[in-house]
Amino acid sequence: MRYNRWALYGLLCLAAIMIMAPVFIMISTSLKSMDEIRNGSIFTLPADPSFAAWSKAWLGDCTQTLGKKCGGLSSSFMTSVQIVIPALFLSVGLGAVTGYSLAVWKMKGANVMFAALLVGMFIPPQVTLYPLIIMIRELGIFGSIPGLILVHVIWGVAFTTMMFRNFFKTVPQDLLKAARIDGAGFWALFWHVMLPLSLPILGVAMILQFTYIWNDFLLGLTFGGRSGQPMTVALNNLVGSQFGEKEYNVDMAATMLTALPTLAVYLLSGRLFVRGIAAGAVKG
């Protein structure tokens, strides 16, 4: 019994170390100076921790610019925010409504629609990239933030619809009947009864969608153009396209900065997230 317990803790610690080690190295390296990186081991702690690399990653180095910009991530951070916020609310909001109508209202072809959505979820984005490009181009919003938002919404809705549909399917029939007798129509039932019920699922959908959209690279690279370049694409450019010596500390700091928002969302909403997943597990 006791032996098992120790083995369990040992295994967990090992897993935690394996997962945390790269993060630790990134943070540690980002706080070092280039001299220290060149001469020391990557495992040693910074002798003289400094946030200089972080500030350079965020603001750029305006003394040695190659182009017009200083090369920092701050401007693309704002672009990412401009993309994520509308794409997040639109995809989750639309998914909630479509999932609700698929689950509750017996429309003709609802099952066919749902099957199509499921298939849509399992198609890799690369396959649909070219048709999507043509579609967005025809709409005249290719290479702009609105274009990128639309693509994210299209991709997100299949997933959020499935989540909400599966949740709303578990709502007892009697509750829906009671609402019909009380005279609640499509929107009243959704707004007053179903949406408040779905708060845990809403939370999970928000977190997952935020993560997907924030972490997306392919769609941002393809559809964003110059004006709609999200942080992930900017990070790639920063890390991958410098001349001369590799600034590992700046690269690490930039990567941490890019990962920080999703990390923050997970940490702040961790409990809600677990509850939503558990609720889905029990009911679904």
Partner: protein
């Protein structure tokens, strides 16, 4: 007419007819109980009255208005569900007022009516709680409150007491009866519990396999069941059924089972026409009486229930249950003599099960 009227109501699912030509009149102020086993169609019938399920054919009138094509909220009805179906995210106050809010009633008026109903049901202290913070009995009251507040022409109850424990069920039964007497509104009530049907109803409709077996007062349904199904479904312990023939011997009427003759007393004159015909005798446990002139019966088992005692008897080649007071002691294996009360017994046709008497 006021109340509810169903004319030739038919229900079919994907071509399979589950109810055909249901005709039913529910008078204004009636407490009508739809009674039947699971799957008999009683809930379907209630849902059709509510408008939650469309009828395949026929029409439904509520308060003299044809509502067949109307949505549930336009039918002037309210419904209480077995699972209570309270909105989990709303407070009790909002639960009760939701229907009025949907109907566009001003806030102050909703507030007033919710408070009135809460007062009536003694749930005022619970108004700001969530349903999950209430006990089953309290949730039931809120569900009733949500129906009452709309002041509908007809209340529909779908097995409202089935989820409560026995003690609470008995209390709520009394309260429902009081409520009905106080409000005088029409109630349609679905249950499979015959005690609820007997105690609450002014009229009982017994359903089986989608058709009405009998519609009458609870007393008549109990005393004069229209057929064998009704006779066996209503009453606990169940009625005794014996196949045989009615015979007359020296001015005494007997029921001859082939293995013995059960003497019948106080036989009505109408039974004379049935003599010699094969049929099924239906006798409730209280219709068997101990009498020295009767047929000999052997005690198999005695079940004391407190106020009563049920005695299982081997008689005339079969077994029957008799009911008697708790005073007398019955020794298994001993013999007693019984007669059947011909005034209260039922006789059924052996082929179609219809009552002959």
């Amino acid at each position: 007419m006021n109340g509810v009227e169903l004319r030739n109501v038919t229900k079919a699912y994907a071509g399979l007819t589950v109810m055909e030509n249901i005709n039913l009149e529910i008078a204004d102020g009636d407490f009508l109980v739809l009674l039947g086993p699971s799957g008999c169609g009683k809930s379907t019938l209630l849902n059709m009255i509510a408008g939650l399920e469309p009828v395949t054919g026929g029409s439904i009138d509520i308060n003299g208005r044809d509502v067949t094509e109307l949505e549930p909220d336009a039918r002037d009805i309210a419904m209480v569900f077995q699972s209570y179906a309270l909105y989990p995210t709303m407070s009790v106050r909002k639960n009760i007022g939701f229907g009025l809010k949907m109907a566009g009633m001003p806030k102050s008026e909703i507030e007033e009516r919710v408070n009135e109903v809460a007062e009536l049901l003694q749930i005022t202290p619970l108004l700001d709680r969530k349903p999950s913070q209430l006990s089953g009995g309290q949730q039931q009251r809120v569900a009733i409150g949500r129906a009452l507040v709309r002041e509908p022409a007809v209340f529909l109850f779908d097995e409202p007491l089935s989820n409560l424990d026995a003690k609470l069920r008995a209390d709520m039964r009394i309260e429902l009866k009081r409520l009905h007497e106080r409000l005088g509104r029409t109630i349609v009530y679905v249950t499979h519990d015959q005690i609820e049907a007997m105690t609450l109803a002014t009229k009982v409709v017994v359903l089986d396999r989608g058709s009405i077996q009998q519609a009458d007062t609870p007393e008549t349904v109990y005393r004069r069941p229209a057929n064998r199904f009704v006779a066996s479904f209503v009453g606990a312990p169940t009625m005794n059924f014996v196949d045989g023939t009615l015979v007359r011997d020296c001015d005494q009427v007997f029921f001859d089972t082939g293995n013995g003759k059960l003497p019948l007393v106080h036989v009505p004159a109408a039974a004379n026409d049935l003599i010699g015909r094969p049929m099924t005798l239906g006798a409730r446990p209280e219709h068997l009486m101990f009498d020295d002139v009767g047929i000999s019966a052997r005690v198999v088992l005695a079940e004391p229930t407190g106020p009563d005692q049920y005695v299982r008897l081997a008689v005339a080649g079969g077994e029957m249950t008799a009911r008697c007071g708790p005073e007398q002691a019955f020794e298994p294996g001993s013999d007693i003599n019984i007669v059947v009360d011909g005034a209260r017994m039922s006789l059924f046709d052996q082929q179609n099960g219809q009552a002959l008497l």
